[in-house]
């Protein structure tokens, strides 16, 4: 294939010091979301008042649900003398107001920088307050100057499991009868889908975190202080008794995670696979379940798979050779890239604000059938993506990722297909299904229809039959 002649572009500044239009949020946000996925729990940030408020607003604008996050509310004096008293008062106030079964405490850049010993402070609190009058307390270190919201999310999942897991909490008859499933930061709809799939396999499962109800609940007559749903504390305690853990996200494979902890400490085998987006990655996921459940993939999903491939065939002509920029959280980028590559779309740039170090390798793993290596950029912002697109003449037909890419899409003059987190300019972001054959079906229809719309709108004839 010959590429069109390219006009030389002036070399842009190669290394920007500043971050310009970020493609990431900070770690405590991910941790707060995880804590919202525990039954009866309230997230608590140890730091300034503003952190909790800003993250609440950011999460509320995506989920459109109440999202209460407490804070120790640091003042100048607290910063100088330490936040012990504020933490204690905060825990007491949260306990008396919300009566939570668990308070999930995450640190912030401020408390990490001044070196707060949260572990020690909680130890003292547990010592001084009678167990029957206090909720379970878990904590995670999430300095905002390290990693992104995804690191905060994954670290919180691990911290909660580490701190709650106990061997022998279940009667031996139940031990080994279920699996743990750590899906990563997926949508509320994705979590519901995963639970449904496990149920169809008749495979009991502990999904953690589970904010499928706490952040997508029904209209209420009376306000619930803490919404119903979430992974129960009892099942988190019982995670070491699982038959196996499945963890989703290729970039996590060499990281210390909840699944790796359970494997090392309690010898729970860990299956660490990619986010099941598209046929190939979903096949791996369903095969893993098939093996663990000891029964074939239920007919329902065989049919979903069959319809999906039939749809791929129906739509392939509209897609072949189309070019996409994929951006966002690393594992979502990997999953979307796997999906796009299998339907004939060329991923011309895979970009993330995250920098796990595993993005390029993971993208390569899911694109082995492509003739050319995919351009991968980690730790980048939206302005860098725009410059890459210009410099390398990427000419995308669409971009796919969170709503934060809206400006980039406008700049490039192509549609943005909204997936992942956050989606702040549309409703229902948390109800987008990305996973499994059914999720791929919805993504596929969305991609094809978006391109058909462009074809229709940009054409003076305005075909009404495509």
């Amino acid at each position: 294939m010959s590429s069109p002649a390219r006009t030389p572009k002036p070399a842009p500044k190669p290394n920007w010091v500043s971050t310009r239009n970020p493609c990431k949020a900070c770690a405590p946000l991910g941790a707060a979301l995880v804590m919202r996925g525990i039954e009866g729990a309230l997230p608590f940030l140890h730091g300034s008042q503003g952190c909790a408020t800003y993250m609440r607003r950011y999460l509320i604008s995506h989920f459109r649900e109440p999202m209460d996050i407490a804070t120790s509310g640091f003042s100048e004096a607290t910063t100088i003398f330490g936040g012990g008293a504020n933490l204690r008062q905060g825990l007491q106030n949260v306990t008396s107001q919300y009566k939570p079964s668990l308070i999930g405490i995450a640190t912030t850049c401020l408390t990490e920088t001044i070196g707060e010993d949260v572990h020690g402070l909680l130890h003292e609190y547990r010592r001084d307050v009678a167990p029957e009058t206090r909720p379970e307390l878990v904590h995670v270190s999430t300095p905002s100057y390290a990693g992104t919201h995804i690191d905060g999310f994954n670290d919180a999942v691990r911290a909660v499991v580490e701190q709650l897991a106990e061997s022998g909490t279940l009667p031996s008859a139940y031990a080994g009868s279920f699996i743990n499933l750590f899906p990563g930061m997926v949508s509320a709809e994705d979590i519901r889908y995963l639970k449904e799939v496990a149920a169809e396999f008749a495979l009991p499962v502990t999904v953690f975190p589970d904010y499928s109800e706490t952040l997508d609940g029904p209209s209420m007559e009376k306000y619930k202080k803490i919404p119903e749903g979430g992974t129960s504390i009892a099942s988190l305690r019982a995670t070491p008794a699982a038959k196996a853990s499945i963890e989703l996200g290729r970039t996590l494979r060499h990281k210390k995670t909840a699944a790796s902890f359970l494997q090392e400490r309690f010898e729970v085998p860990a299956r660490r696979i990619g986010l099941p987006i598209g046929v190939h990655e979903s096949d791996i996921f369903f095969a893993a379940l098939e093996k663990l459940a000891g029964r074939p993939v239920p007919d329902k999903y065989q049919k979903e798979r069959g319809r999906l491939i039939d749809a791929y065939v129906d739509g392939h002509k509209y897609l072949f050779g189309k070019r996409a920029i994929v951006f966002g959280d690393e594992d979502l980028v990997v999953g979307l890239t796997a999906f796009l590559a299998e339907i004939g779309v060329v991923p011309v740039l895979c970009a993330s604000g995250g920098k796990s170090g595993a993005l390029a390798h993971s993208v390569a793993e899911v694109t082995t059938h492509l003739r050319e290596a995919v351009l991968v950029r980690d730790g980048v912002d939206f302005m860098t993506m725009a410059e890459e697109a210009e410099l390398k003449d990427l000419k995308p037909d669409f971009i796919i990722g969170s709503s934060k890419g809206a400006k980039l899409a406008k700049q490039l003059g192509v549609p943005l297909i909204r997936v992942g987190f956050p989606i702040h300019d549309r409703v229902g972001g948390h109800r987008i299904l990305h996973l499994g054959y059914r999720g791929a079906q919805q993504l596929f229809d969305l991609v094809v229809n978006t391109l058909l719309e462009v074809k229709q709108e940009s054409n003076p004839i305005g075909y009404s039959y495509l």
């Binding site: 500043s18 405590p28 008042q49 100048e76 401020l110 100057y145």
Partner: protein
């Protein structure tokens, strides 16, 4: 009834229940209370954000920049630098070794790339802890690049949002007075404390100009550095959002002698008064006549429709929870104008005078609350059987979860609610929120009635 934390009991007041004012206020939020307030940084960021030809860079880890990227509806008629997000994105090593070098490099590259008229450098929590000398870096860059580079001392933990307003005003005061006041006429004003959400400053500016008043600068709606430089030449400062801008107005009065008046552009009464107050200040008969003409024309345009809305909204109950109390006064009277009753009103940052004034203008039984939180607010909404709740994004899900209408009156809004036209928009939005048929399906209205009886 709400479970109110012991340390907050005196921050909730019910008019006519024999409870004594003054209400407790202007205090640090109780730890663990889940306050709706933000922080010092937020105060500075919201005030300075609309200045569209300045570079705004957040010095700190990425969060503070991410959470404030292009979230406000503050429009610009020209450059749109304010809608981009810039951060030094401090990492672990920067925290250990200090972030000054990174800040210097970031400022230089961004100023070179975007050629702003000025730069604002927002200090965040850890900058206050690791001891970066932001002032020194700003001074150096300012010298090298020849534009004002202004430190904004907005470390999150160093007080409340109000301290952030003050830090923003301090930065503005370094710009005011640096420009020429040539061609500034005697009948001239600065519009302070309007942020041009959905183009509101343009509407206000247009009214004043039609009166024959010269608008020297808008601080900060559709703001421009060169205009702010010559703001000291204006004869009068017209201050809305007094919580954020009174300090600037007072200091300008001391320094440059221009007096200030407090105004509000919400509701037809307050809007008209804002225009008349300026006309009266200049003691110009012709201007007063023109003002009367403007008010008459505008009222004739909007009143028939407002009266229609009033017929349909009469007797509905509203709750208000906003950042600054001054806005609440206008909302109470605007709602009354629509025939509605305010049954709960609160603010994040009101002071004793504000709450006293609220008590005076509210009906018996109204709940007045300072620095509230989701549990209190939800219980007030339930108790008072509210039809529409007016607040910001963080209050919205509280109302919606309970099947209650909501109207966004905060910085994120995309509807112009100020001015005469804005009052019509406000009425339309309240009407649309209250009258939607969806409420008929919600459990709160329907109770446990079986689905078949829904008509």
């Amino acid at each position: 009834m709400a479970d109110i934390l012991r340390e907050r009991e005196r921050q909730v007041y019910r008019k006519g229940h024999g409870e004594a004012l003054p209400i407790d206020c202007e205090k640090q939020s109780a730890a663990g209370s889940v306050s709706q307030r933000a922080c010092v940084f937020c105060g500075s960021r919201v005030v300075l954000y609309p200045i569209a030809d300045a570079l705004h860079i957040v010095h700190g880890p990425i969060g503070c920049a991410s959470y404030t990227w292009d979230i406000r509806g503050a429009l610009s008629s020209g450059p749109e630098l304010h809608r981009l997000s810039f951060s030094t994105d401090l990492h672990e090593l920067d925290v250990v070794h200090g972030g000054e070098k990174k800040l210097y490099a970031a400022l230089c590259e961004l100023i070179d790339a975007h050629q702003p008229k000025a730069a604002f450098v927002y200090g965040t929590c850890i900058v206050g802890v690791i001891g970066d000398d932001i002032d020194a870096v700003c001074k150096r860059v300012s010298m090298e690049k020849g534009i004002p580079v202004l430190p904004v001392h907005s470390e999150g933990f160093k007080g409340t949002k109000k301290d952030g307003y003050r830090a923003a005003c301090e930065a503005l005061l370094k710009i005011v007075g640096t420009g020429s006041v040539e061609s500034v006429r005697p009948h001239s004003i600065n519009i302070l404390g309007d942020f041009n959400l959905a183009g509101e400053t343009w509407m206000i500016r247009d009214y004043y100009e039609r009166m024959g008043v010269q608008v020297v600068s808008c601080i900060t709606g559709d703001g421009r550095i060169d205009e702010i430089r010559r703001a000291h030449g204006a004869a009068l400062n017209v201050v809305q959002c007094s919580g954020s801008m009174t300090y600037l107005a007072k200091t300008m009065k001391e320094k440059y002698g221009a007096p200030f008046i407090r105004v509000s552009y919400f509701g037809v009464e307050d809007m008209s008064k804002s225009l008349y107050d300026v006309a009266r200040h200049f003691k110009d008969k012709e201007m007063l006549t023109r003002t009367q003409e403007i008010v008459r024309t505008e009222l004739q345009r909007v009143m028939p429709q407002l009266n229609d809305y009033r017929k349909m909204l009469a007797g509905k109950r509203a709750a208000i929870y906003v950042g600054g109390a001054f806005k609440a006064f206008s909302l109470v009277s605007a709602l009354r104008h629509l025939g509605m009753t305010t049954v709960m009103v609160g603010s994040q940052t009101g002071n004793k005078d504000d709450y006293e004034q609220l008590r005076e203008i509210c009906d018996e039984g109204t709940i007045i609350v300072d620095d509230s939180n989701p549990l209190e607010l939800s219980s007030f909404l339930e108790e008072k059987d509210v039809d529409v709740f007016i607040g910001g994004v963080k209050e919205r899900p509280i109302a919606y979860k309970l099947g209650i209408g909501f109207c966004d009156h905060n910085h994120e809004r995309k509807e112009a609610l100020a001015g005469f036209e804005g009052m019509l928009n406000f009425a339309r939005e309240v009407y649309g929120s209250v009258m939607s048929p969806v409420w008929r399906l919600t459990p709160r209205k329907r109770g446990s009635a079986p689905l078949e009886v829904v008509k």
